[in-house]
């Protein structure tokens, strides 16, 4: 057993998860162990992501932002902190702390739109926009409360 070394000296921050990270077939070692954290991992369950010492092998340090063509934008003014978006986000991309929704982790969000569908407020506190649109513009043009159809 050995520790994978392909990224051991790579400290350039958030990286695109893609071809440039691939290693050749002859570089992949058998029985590799990839540590998710630097040093002792005990107690990480009690730490928020920002307090953890992630190893470069942890996919938390990578990004899949380029998958997105549309993105969710979050409007704090309407949100009731129900946490529906938190529980159903498949990409661990809803940042909630102390029972409050804080926003979206755009490094890991793939733009599936599930969070928007499960958001119960009227108008919704999350809506999908084109990736290229500025969040400020999106917020400025937020729709009004929809009247129930009679």
């Amino acid at each position: 057993m050995s520790t994978g070394s392909a990224l051991a000296s790579n400290k350039r921050g958030i990286r695109e998860l893609g071809a440039e990270e691939m290693v050749g077939w002859d570089e992949v070692q058998q029985g590799v162990v990839l540590p998710s954290f630097e040093g002792d991992a005990a107690g990480i369950v009690n730490m928020h992501a920002e307090e953890r010492n992630y190893a470069d092998f942890n996919s938390y340090t990578a990004t899949v932002a380029s998958w997105r063509v549309i993105k969710p934008v979050y409007n704090r003014d309407i949100c009731i902190d129900c946490q529906n978006c938190w529980v159903w986000c498949p990409d661990t991309s809803i940042i909630s702390r102390d029972k409050q929704m804080l926003g979206i982790d755009y490094d890991h969000c793939k733009g599936c739109g599930v969070c928007v569908e499960v958001c119960p407020t009227n108008p919704k506190s999350l809506l999908m926009f084109n990736e290229a649109e500025e969040n400020d513009e999106a917020l400025a043009g937020w729709p009004q409360k929809e009247k129930k159809a009679k």
């Binding site: 994978g4 392909a6 990224l7 998860l17 990270e21 290693v23 992949v28 590799v32 990839l34 998710s36 954290f37 991992a41 005990a42 990480i44 369950v45 009690n46 730490m47 928020h48 992501a49 092998f57 942890n58 996919s59 938390y60 990578a62 990004t63 899949v64 998958w67 902190d81 129900c82 946490q83 529906n84 938190w86 529980v87 159903w88 986000c89 498949p90 990409d91 661990t92 991309s93 909630s96 702390r97 102390d98 029972k99 982790d105 490094d107 890991h108 969000c109 793939k110 733009g111 599936c112 739109g113 599930v114 928007v116 569908e117 499960v118 999908m128």
Partner: protein, 317 residues
């Protein structure tokens, strides 16, 4: 505090995720919703093994891992074997006093797709449960071999189009009924067996917690909507799962000690199975006049199964 509070979602959301983003599962894939929830409903150390399938392949793209716990990448069929081997070693070392932290609570979990669980790893799962190891096996049932291009499995329902049971002029898709694996696992005498669904997050979290707390082998089948092979818009994963549980295509229930059956979700308005089938591309052909009989057959099977579950719940047998 070993098992974390699940009184409501706000409280649940204070847990720190141990399943990380930038895995490569499709946008909207239910596999990760289910795995995240299991890992969030406990603070215990976890030792997890995954059978080969979308989950394993997408969360361990060398040199990355999306797992913040001990996690074993193993063959298609033997996550149950690998994780129960780890469990046996853990017990032996505890007895010998060679563990670094013998009091730290540890839970052993295996994840498998339906292909690896219902079919190819079934013997390994059955053996591990029969040997009575203390572990929880979770099947992510998307009713096909998704990772290799959507082949039919014994979990694929009758009438579904798959790449190896195609619908066309000569066939309406898969001809055989889905295997009732939940009943088969209950018949092993496992102390806790359940079928759970991620749209019902609370019963799912409670079911996971029960399984983790129960000593002995536990089996949970979870409905895992697959946007790619079921052919629906990724944003609709939870909506589609609502249709699955509300049409009773996927009833949510548990079986304790092989006989005590409890229904965990009774839809207020049971919807017709057509509403569930019509929301997915894999069943589109069933709406042709010549295939109407298949929809009727599926509805009849659902009605009979629901009646049977209710009778079993009452009779405790």
């Amino acid at each position: 505090m070993a098992i974390t509070s699940i009184k409501n979602l706000k409280e649940f959301s204070t847990n720190n995720d141990r399943f990380e983003g930038a895995h490569l599962l499709c946008p909207g894939c239910a596999h990760s919703m289910i795995v995240r929830e299991l890992m969030n409903c406990t603070d215990d150390n976890l030792v997890i093994a995954s059978n080969t399938g979308c989950l394993e392949v997408s969360t361990a793209v060398y040199p990355y891992t999306s797992w913040d716990t001990s996690w074993i990448h193993i063959g298609f069929e033997n996550a149950a074997t690998a994780v129960t081997g780890a469990e046996a070693m853990y017990k032996a070392r505890k007895k010998k006093g060679t563990l670094k932290d013998p009091d730290a609570p540890v839970k052993f979990v295996a994840f498998g797709g339906d292909g690896s669980t219902y079919d190819i790893g079934f013997q390994w799962l059955s053996g591990a449960v029969e040997r009575g190891h203390d572990f929880t096996y979770v099947c992510l049932d998307n009713e096909n071999y998704a990772n290799t291009g959507g082949q039919r499995s014994s979990a694929t329902p009758i009438g579904a189009h798959t790449s190896t049971a195609q619908a066309g002029s000569a066939s309406y898709g898969k001809k055989q009924k889905k295997k009732d694996l939940v009943a088969i696992m209950a018949a092993h005498g496992a102390p806790y067996v359940a079928q759970l669904a991620p749209n019902k997050w609370k019963s799912m979290a409670k079911g996971f917690q029960k399984a983790l707390e129960t000593e002995g082998p536990c089996f949970i089948n979870t409905v895992s909507a697959c946007t790619t092979e079921w052919k629906f818009d990724p944003k609709d994963t939870i909506h589609l799962t609502d249709l699955a549980t509300d049409s009773l295509m996927f009833p949510v229930y548990e079986i304790i000690d092989g006989h005590e059956l409890n229904i965990l979700y009774r839809p207020k308005n049971v919807i017709k199975v057509e509403d569930y089938l019509g929301a997915q591309g894999r069943y589109r052909h069933l709406f042709k006049p010549e295939n109407k009989h298949v929809i009727e057959r599926i509805q009849k099977d659902i009605d009979e199964n629901w009646a049977m579950l209710q009778r079993r719940e009452e009779a405790r047998i």
